[in-house]
Symmetry: C2
Subunit: 291 residues, 2 copies
């Protein structure tokens, strides 16, 4: 199960209701933060969430509302005496931005910052994909690895309970057992893991459809209800987000990056539902369990 915390669901500027973009995703032994708007470290502190244990931070693009909380968050990790390396994914200039900011604010991280292109570990894989914003921008796919379990009922039925044999079958080997060849594929059950996709800021585009294919949860830019200026600013209207959700056959669509001009979520949810029924518009600090 992946637990997705919506730490900040606004965009551009903070409003009374919505903080700037930040999404925490947790799974046993793993936690990652996607985007880090100003004030994200306050949200961690206020709600008793741990930023020191983060394994990965992924930034979608360099606009201030998505990245300006990162310097303070990392500096506070330093004050909390973090030792563990921190994996960071993001646009090319992120590294330069961080080190320039650290240098000017007299800070030196005492833990390693690992700038990576893809993350794999703890049964999780995180990949990026290019989105369609006014500046270079990347979305993220967080996927559980495929789960391989033994088909215990079937193995019991033929009387196999030798641990060594079971181990080989699970590991993908065919085994000769009491004179009989056991093809491993006949005795394992594969279950694909859950997939969560976060677009960051984007116009609707083919890359997002491809990246989101069959996702359990798609968190999509839905800045506006129905504004032609979405095109100018490189954002999506809710109906466009809903169309992407439909095309990529996701299980659930979460609308986010909601402009401060919409204090009431209902009109946005209704507009999306006309196109795609399985839609939610999370408030700050709500969460979704993705099975």
């Amino acid at each position: 199960m992946i637990k997705v915390y919506f730490l900040g669901t606004g965009g551009g500027m903070p409003s009374k209701n919505r903080r700037l973009p930040a999404f925490l995703m947790k799974r046993e032994g793993f936690s990652a933060l996607f985007d880090c708007g100003e004030g994200t470290q306050y949200t961690f502190t206020e709600y008793g969430l741990s930023s020191v244990s983060l394994d990965l931070i992924g930034i979608t693009h360099m606009h201030g509302d998505h990245v300006l909380g990162l310097i303070g968050l990392i500096e506070s990790m330093g004050m909390l005496d973090r030792k563990k390396p921190l994996n960071i994914m993001g646009p090319k200039r992120l590294k330069e931005f961080l080190y320039a900011s650290f240098e000017m604010s007299h800070f030196r991280p005492k833990f390693e910052l690992r700038f990576i292109d893809e993350y794999k570990g703890n049964g999780i894989r995180v990949k990026k994909f290019e989105t369609c914003h006014t500046v270079t921008s990347q979305g993220y796919i967080l996927e559980e690895e495929e789960k391989v379990n033994l088909d215990i009922d079937r193995l019991k039925a033929i009387g196999v309970n030798d641990w060594n044999v079971l181990r080989k079958i699970k590991g993908g080997e065919d085994v000769t057992y009491e004179g009989r060849i056991l093809h491993h594929e006949d005795y394992i059950i594969k279950r694909s893991g859950s997939k969560v996709v976060y677009t960051g800021d984007t116009r609707p585009c083919e890359n997002t459809v491809n990246a989101s294919k069959d996702a359990a949860l798609l968190i999509h830019d839905s800045t506006f209800l129905d504004e032609p200026s979405a095109l100018t600013y490189g954002h999506s209207n809710v109906s466009e987000a809903a169309t992407i959700a439909q095309q990529s056959n996701v299980n659930l669509l979460a609308l986010t990056h909601i402009s401060a001009r919409y204090p009431e979520p209902e009109p946005l949810i209704q507009a999306a539902k006309k196109i795609f029924p399985r839609v939610t518009l999370p408030n700050d600090l709500s969460f979704i369990n993705v099975e």
Copy 2:
């Protein structure tokens, strides 16, 4: 009257009780912000204060907890369509830090940023003074200009009510009136304006005593109750802040930059009171009217 809002009274890292340093000072037709820790723009929004109308921002030094909210605050001013120039005082590298951050986060302010060394206007003067921290750091003196009023009772007693004569006397001229010389100094009352001093981070030092002489309000670094490490980190214990207040004969001392290790203010107030009686430890979003 100067109204001082304590927007953030913590230091280092935000805690559940105290945000990062930020102090708003307002006087009819004028408002200035001193220091701008991460999240300051949230405090403005949350409490219905206007950041767009700020005339001046003064930053004490480049440590992250004092400056990392400034980029977002200025970017939000841009989104709110600010046109008025913004005066900025701060250490040398502040300008470089701001423009590098703007460039990397794809932002161009459409209003002028005026980097100045001293501010004068609206009956207010703001000066800086060097403090004693681990990095280059400056405190601020905000002073009302001296008020010059006519001594109406005395002028009435000698039968002067000619507007032109009164105007000249107030302007500092000696006037011949009905064959008699009126020395302007005999007919005006001068009242010195109020003075507020904010130290930013500092060890106790002579500069601060000199800058704070007879201030109505001194806002002084009081990070620790009684820690030898105050010396290492360039901060003050509350007893040191109280000693400075006594030496400079201020009217009121406000303890600030309180470490997160002190959830209860009372022990800090008591320790200060042993040395200097007129002391307060403001909470976030409290304010003081300085007459």
